[in-house]
């Protein structure tokens, strides 16, 4: 039994940094996968829809934890090369959460009224131009809230990487517990760490959501904001909120 020394605190802080990195990299890969697979699932060619649909089902139906172990321990045995644990983790998390995200992208794109696409056809836009200028900008505000959920799921999912020996928060906590023999303080601390990270993510995504809604001329959920840029002042005014009372974010 011993106290948590400053060296052990440093370990936890480093773990925090690793978790943040894992979240950012996996989210970036996941977003790329989500858009690629999600759009492929709305493609007019059945084979593209089939392949992307199979990808979605495959990754939805497998455990991220098992998959991560598999990528790290089984793939090297068959292929003869091994990924650094960090990248094996990012690859697994990105592909898994990207699969969930593809459903969000597919749904939001499908929810854009057909009439908007028809207006695009009438103006002579190509399919790619319609997607880029009309469909995706209108689908984006619908994607942000479910993406926020997925992002937080992903953040918590990064704890799985401790099984590969990646030094994230959870792994650091295990080391600290081994060193001190006490579980309660360290696991309480990391619970709070995860919560604070998730809370910050949510705050950030709220801002993204407000901006996205304003970009299609819709009012975002009313919330006091002192950070409105001039371009969005009209929206803020319509919402009836006084920006002088704005809180922190």
């Amino acid at each position: 039994m011993s106290e948590i020394t400053s060296g052990l605190w440093g370990l936890l802080l480093h773990g925090l940094w690793v978790t943040v990195q894992l979240t950012v990299f996996s989210a970036a890969l996941g977003a790329a996968v989500a858009f690629a697979v999600g759009l492929a699932r709305t493609h007019r060619l059945w084979i593209v829809r089939f392949v992307s649909g199979a990808y979605f089902e495959l990754f939805r139906g497998t455990s991220a934890l098992v998959l991560m172990i598999w990528v790290f321990f089984v793939v090297p045995m068959t292929l003869g090369w091994q990924l650094v644990p960090m990248w094996a983790a990012v690859l697994t998390l990105g592909c898994t959460y990207g699969a969930y995200g593809s459903e969000v992208v597919r749904g939001a794109v499908a929810a854009v009224p057909q009439a908007q696409r028809e207006a695009g056809v009438a103006l002579g836009f190509t399919p790619v131009q319609r997607l880029r200028k009309i469909v995706l900008p209108q689908a984006w505000p619908e994607m942000v809230p479910p993406f926020n959920n997925l992002l937080i799921e992903l953040l918590k999912g990064t704890a799985l990487v401790s099984v590969l020996g990646v030094g994230d928060i959870t792994f650091a906590a295990q080391l600290v517990r081994n060193a001190t023999g006490r579980s309660a303080p360290v696991y309480t601390v990391i619970l709070v760490m995860y919560f604070v990270l998730a809370f910050l993510l949510t705050r950030g995504m709220r801002r993204v959501e407000r901006r996205a809604k304003a970009s299609v001329g819709r009012l975002a959920p009313a919330e006091p904001s002192g950070t409105a840029k001039t371009g969005r002042v009209r929206q803020q005014d319509l919402a009836g909120s006084s920006s002088a009372t704005g809180g922190v974010s």
Binding site: A115, Q116, E118, A119, V121, A122, L123, G124, F125, T126, Q129, K133, I134, P137, Q138, S215, V216, G217, R218
Partner: protein, 275 residues
């Protein structure tokens, strides 16, 4: 509009050989055939919306399609805009095949055609100005400055010069529809398709939009193909009125004739119901 309008559309589509009506065919005096549908059939499931339809429209003419709901009027506009494909037949616009045709060619033909929709269909993710400039810049390759000059002129024409920077959602229905008209005109189309453009508007906003369209019909040489339930408007702007029923043109002629002394019993019934 002129009483001497040359009927470029066969009296009835039921007789299939009348496509080349005296003044209509290619090389007709003073006007050129711009749109031509031959033996066009469109089915939705078991329901035949258009039944071996033949008709043509000459350059610069204003043609109005009237008839009961579900008689296939809107489908014709949608076929011309390539929003739907016919099951049989051929469609030609300005000498170029629109159906059957490869996508690349359809894209070229589409540039000649503008369409205004019943529900406006403005893009909510763009300002009013951007709604009008985006296609000229992206599709026609205009510089942004050129496109904006053109857009401001058109906004001036439709009486919304002060609304450049607002979002479509902040406009009334009538204002949105006028922006949609400006957006279609910004592409300088040869043909303007108007699909029940006042049906979704509050009654007090209808007159403004119709007056604007009357202006455009008078002051430009654009070819107009118009589906409407506004019979007075149809009478004012049309060179030719086509009465549709069950996927066929049952009667056509200049508005004076069709509204004044229709030949067909079905036309009389329809007009007495809507006038």
């Amino acid at each position: 509009m002129p009483a001497d309008a040359e009927p470029s559309i066969p009296k009835t589509a039921a007789t299939t050989s009348t496509v080349d009506s005296p003044a209509g065919g290619p090389g007709g005096p003073g006007s050129r055939e711009l749109i031509r549908l031959e033996q066009v059939t469109k089915r939705f499931g078991d329901h035949t919306v258009l039944d071996r339809l033949d008709f043509s429209v000459d350059t610069g003419k204003h043609v109005t399609l009237i008839g009961p709901s579900g008689s296939g009027k809107t489908t014709i506009l949608r076929l011309l805009m390539t929003l739907t494909k016919p099951d049989e037949g051929t469609i030609t616009v300005d000498g170029e095949r629109l159906f059957p045709a490869p996508e690349q060619q359809c894209r070229e033909v589409r540039k000649k055609i503008g369409m205004v929709f019943q529900q406006f269909n403005l893009f909510p993710n763009m300002t009013v100005l951007r709604n009008i400039t985006e296609a000229p810049v992206t599709v026609l390759g205009l510089s942004r400055d050129e496109a904006e000059d053109r857009a401001r002129e058109l906004l001036d024409l439709v009486g919304l010069a002060d609304k450049c920077d607002v979002r479509p959602t902040q406009l009334s229905g009538g204002q949105q529809q006028r922006v949609a008209i400006a957006r279609a005109l910004a592409m300088r189309p040869q043909v303007l398709l108007l699909d029940e453009v006042t049906s979704a508007l509050d009654p007090e906003l209808v007159a403004g939009v119709l007056d604007l369209l009357r202006d455009i019909a008078r002051s430009t040489d654009i070819t107009m193909l118009c589906v409407t339930h506004e019979m007075n408007f149809a009478r004012d702007i049309s060179d030719q009125v086509l009465m549709f029923d069950s996927g066929r043109v049952i009667e056509s002629g200049p508005p004076e004739k069709l509204f004044g002394d229709p030949d067909h019993e079905r036309t009389r019934e329809f007009l007495s119901a809507v006038l």
